[in-house]
Subunit: 234 residues, 2 copies
Amino acid sequence: MRIGELARRSGVAVPTIKYYLREGLLPAGTSTGPNQADYDDTHLHRLRLVRALIDIGGLTVAGTRDVLSAVDDPFVVGHELLGAAHCAIVPARRSTRGEVRDGDGWQSARADLGGWTARRGWLISPDAPALDQLADVVSALRTLGLDELLDRLDAYADAAVTVAEHDIDTVLARAGGGEASAELMLEAVVTGTVLGEAMFNALRLLAQEDASARRFGFGRLSEEPAHAGSSEVS
Amino acid sequence: MRIGELARRSGVAVPTIKYYLREGLLPAGTSTGPNQADYDDTHLHRLRLVRALIDIGGLTVAGTRDVLSAVDDPFVVGHELLGAAHCAIVPARRSTRGEVRDGDGWQSARADLGGWTARRGWLISPDAPALDQLADVVSALRTLGLDELLDRLDAYADAAVTVAEHDIDTVLARAGGGEASAELMLEAVVTGTVLGEAMFNALRLLAQEDASARRFGFGRLSEEPAHAGSSEVS
């Protein structure tokens, strides 16, 4: 298809597609003449993936490129897939200023977390980017005096284990018995991590609203609970 | 304290503090002379809260101002606190382009979710911003053909209920038997939602890495599991 049809089918404007091509987020089409190229369904799929990572995952354009180059690396397999995806995703949206991590409070939170994950028996890399991300939160909570959340770190970690088991099941279901390509699996890991996170965060807000309504009684925002319907979601 | 000491104790540069004062993220200090003002511990606390919302929560400056004006509204109480916090937080970082929500795919996902939450018996407002956020994800997953994640929507929702119960417990613990001010409770809701989300997302990545290591065997990234330590986290 021509770039105009690619734009129409993806809902992404032609100048934006050209920008993604220049930035390496989308592979070049097959040249069919001067200033003219042909695109296929793999371009359409990749474009939709790019928009999902940017629009819903909140990744930057540069971060999206890094994540996609992990997807395109044929030498990343098995358990390494997940590490590669995490290493690409976490810095792709980290907004914490680097200097925060030089402080004593952060360093001490980071050291404590190393001991804590070991006591839980978690098999994780000592330099997992998510450990740094967790230290950002822990040191901020300590600074703000919000000990109530920290007191429940193990309870939240238990819930995270349940969610992670579903995540891995999802990737394995995608792999369809090991027949799927590494590219398809890594795409499942990346989208599962980024979109799965957005999905869970939204579900959590809804579950909070429900739990709050039950415990505190109704307020302005829940006078009209969502009414029944019969359609299926998936 | 003078602005210089406020900068030193918070780790936020003086020009940034002045910017937050102009933008209304931080209340003015007590004037002590021409071009001179005095700040106290409430300013220090608020400044730390602002940095946490921006650095860790990924909120914009304008979004942070909206969230904080909910904190400062003395007429928001009880269950409404949570709705006010959600209504401020969700748009404060939504990056999805509005036009996506005009599409048939999004509208149909949104309608399906209305029915789905009703079948779950969730007491939520039909126009909860998190429902729109969830529709963003569901329509993107459908477009990308990632049905495996959607098939587990109920399983993820069950886990979200567990997490939300901890969230509400945290806010109630903060309230300390109902004695706390609405401001303190709303601050707990806001920080619990924004920082609690960042905390859970990091825990989920760590739990994924552990689950992946157990199921796929070790790869490059987990050859050296974090070693044991004895320090406490909270």
